[in-house]
Point group: C2
Chain length 234, copies 2
Amino acid sequence: MCDSCGCHVNDQADKKTIDVHQSLLAANDAQAAKNKAHIEAMGAVAINMISSPGSGKTTLLEHTLDRVGNRWKIGVIEGDIETERDAERIRKKGVPVVQLTTGGACHLDAPLVHKGLHALEHQSKTGKFDLIFIENVGNLVCPATFALGEHERLILVSVPEGSDKPAKYPTTFHGADTFMITKTDLLPYFDFSVAEAEQEALRLNPELRILKTGAPTGLGMDDWLNYLDALITD
Amino acid sequence: MCDSCGCHVNDQADKKTIDVHQSLLAANDAQAAKNKAHIEAMGAVAINMISSPGSGKTTLLEHTLDRVGNRWKIGVIEGDIETERDAERIRKKGVPVVQLTTGGACHLDAPLVHKGLHALEHQSKTGKFDLIFIENVGNLVCPATFALGEHERLILVSVPEGSDKPAKYPTTFHGADTFMITKTDLLPYFDFSVAEAEQEALRLNPELRILKTGAPTGLGMDDWLNYLDALITD
């Protein structure tokens, strides 16, 4: 009890809140399992890309599409709170792209991505793809709780954000398959320790694969394309 | 209805979810009003700092504390999902600081900040402050929904994140008082349009005050200190 303002933390809402959230997450997980079957029926594997705003997800995709050319059939689902900007950037590369806007929500969820899969199919004559990128809303926290039906979950942290980010956002790293450090061409100009970021990420999740890219300069892009190749071929 | 996976969006949970969220937000707003009275009883004004991870909130505070010296009595409440790292950085500057860890949650809320205010009081002989900085969890979306009892809400976007961020995160800007572009010393090296960021931010919120800082080089720090001075004096 607080003498100054006469209040205390209200614990009564907690049980009800926890129940509703668990029910929502269970519904989301069920839809995610269906999305995964849907994606596989499209012939594809899907990557759920999660990062802070401005970590370079769209830039990585632009440079990836330039390098891949016609080698694989790629579709992109863009998640944002508002605006079609990221989809417009990807559309210029000539691949099927769907913009999902959450209208305020801080993450994509499986039902919304399900709509995106259908919209993507309509942009392709065959409805078939090799690889689907799902670029989540820029947020290093909430998207980690919502499975979308992806085969791989990729967490990106850019060099300007700092190498303390894995330690500070542990939940996100627990559920990830791959951790990519982006904008590595900027390493000479920032106080970012690759060793610290890698060690902290592996401490949280020893199974994590680690990639490093500086997409505009081509740094690490061969490793990234080899990783995609293995994912598609497996 | 989806032929491929036989599912459709489950709308049944929505009403219940909306009810619980509205009840949570109402409880949070009530506690935030009490926090504000609490902060004023401590003699202080409070600033709620909201940004993506790695936008430079802690760095701005470090340089601010160096410049302010003993001019004002400052307290800092640090919000993170895990780790005491930010509080350790601020503690080196010799001011009262409290680390709040949310244990997974993507934002600070008013009940947690209330505990932080009490902890801050215990670190001061008089319990009095001029200015309290509340550094929210690194997240450009969710913290905007939760009032903490602050007098000013400051949104920070760093140059490496890109000038499209106001347009892509409109809700955050609607509720802000001040928008700060950080890491402006990096403008020569990034494709960041100050004009675009300012115009989009002002389109969303014409009352917004705009500041620009490059804290380590001192850029814009006089404007920032004048802003703090006006806030404390008012």
